[in-house]
Symmetry: C3
Subunit: 214 residues, 3 copies
């Protein structure tokens, strides 16, 4: 009983730590690409890794998760320092940024959906909350470094969160499937959709006429 | 007595729904203009329609209105879907965006001022809160799609909110005027100021010297 | 005893007022540089002066400081009006903006660190909170007027906050140093670092390789 509880707790914590590592790395690489100084990189990486969750907690009206949690802050800071050191080895900014952004997107979307379910929100609002948690760390990063937000690029982005979040809710209603299995499956769906979309330059059909005049 | 209460309640709800429809439409058209995919359009439209009210509720320290309100979320989502379908009929993006943005601005400014009065805030802070509620949905939309915020264009924008909000507070202190009448008048003032300003390219005088060097 | 309390209270209030004046001025000048109309200038100046503290209070989960505080709102509004009038005398936008931005940065960083200490947060989180309080008013200003955020320029910016905040925490642990003395010293450190950095175009070393592709 206690062992099961500890396993669930540790699994949830592992997801949060990996997500923090992923988004901190993506933020650090984006900031280094813009040649910020080390402390500037630290701030952008921190904002990227905690931004989505901060907005989620403000919307839920619960205490902001990282204010009393040195573990997550330490993970974000240490990741950033490691990213700055590893930079001398890793040359391919663009791919690194993309892979870590996708991973963080998957992990944080599912955390957001779960927090919505725990708060007893309507399924549609849970998916919205998950999408906000997943996307807004990256949106904040892109706004702070004055890049065109990834959200706006042609390739499927928010769509991946919505599909992943919906799958999570559907599987969650089927009794007997272990929660950890659902999490791994739906996180993988989001990451794989993003990778396939970018690799094959897939984008959602524009269902409205796209020959828009200004 | 009950009938009066229900009338007031329904009138307030009607204002909120029309405002949500207006801003969701303006967000959807702005996003389609930038050729986002349908789910991207959905997110921008949603952020535009609930953004100002979300910031208002966070500032007031009350629960964020749409987290437990499927009606407003449904209105925003259905409006966006209809906007994408209607797009094939409506060619004139720019005018549609402008008219719905003005309507949303008027409706949401007055909702914001009223919430400030209900919270017992100082009149100046009520007007500030109304202006934030009215303007920041649109500001968020413009930041997310990387446009120059409407707030920054030459034509009167924030000024319309401040004039409308001040008129609301003044009329509200005169006994005997029905609340609904005050709402309709002040919302109309904001919308009409915006339409006249844009039509005749009016702008507020620059009272400081405008021959600024950088 | 009462006299000591009143002195401490008044000193804290003085820091907050000077910080508000400094950031409102920097916001007003930035907005005038972009030729916004007077009400537009008012909104940008207000957002700059209360933005960092608003985010700080939301993160701390305490009531947003200016919602019930007409004094700070009045200071922000009156400063903006004076800035618009003085504009006809002061020609050098850039320097004025820079000096007031640096002063506000120093004052607000230390307020943020102190609020973190009062809330019993971990030292590292106190410094993070101070840096956010100091930087995000200016970041908001730069995002609203569509400028490249100062945070991203080469010259030391966030670094100054982190050094000042850390010094505050270290001195704060040494018994016997008057609090007001620590505040004046650390605020001065931040302002002086900024002025020296800009004057001599100093920047932090890029510890990662800066010959980035893409």
């Amino acid at each position: 009983m206690l062992a099961t509880f500890l396993f669930h707790e540790n699994f949830a914590l592992a997801i949060e730590i990996i997500g923090t590592v992923a988004f901190a790395t993506s933020g650090a690489f984006a900031a280094m690409q813009h040649r910020l100084d080390p402390f500037g990189v630290l701030i952008i990486a921190f904002a990227t890794s905690v931004g989505g969750g901060t907005i989620r907690d403000l919307l839920l009206g619960v205490p902001v998760f990282w204010m009393h949690d040195m573990l997550i802050c330490s993970v974000a800071f240490i990741t950033t320092i490691l990213a700055m050191i590893f930079k001398s080895i890793e040359k391919n900014f663009k791919n690194t940024l993309f892979i870590f952004d996708s991973l963080g997107l998957g992990l944080f979307t599912i955390i957001g959906v779960q927090k919505g379910i725990s708060a007893g929100l309507h399924p549609v609002i849970c998916i919205t909350l998950g999408t906000i948690t997943g996307c807004f760390g990256g949106v904040l990063r892109d706004i702070l470094i004055n890049r065109i937000p990834l959200l706006l690029r042609k390739e499927i982005y928010a769509t991946a969160c919505i599909i992943g979040g919906t799958t999570f809710l559907l599987l969650n209603n089927i009794p007997g499937i272990p929660k950890e299995f659902i999490q791994i499956i739906t996180i993988s769906i989001i990451v794989i959709i993003r990778i396939i979309a970018v690799k094959f330059k897939l984008h959602m059909p524009l269902i409205y006429q796209s020959d828009a005049s200004d």
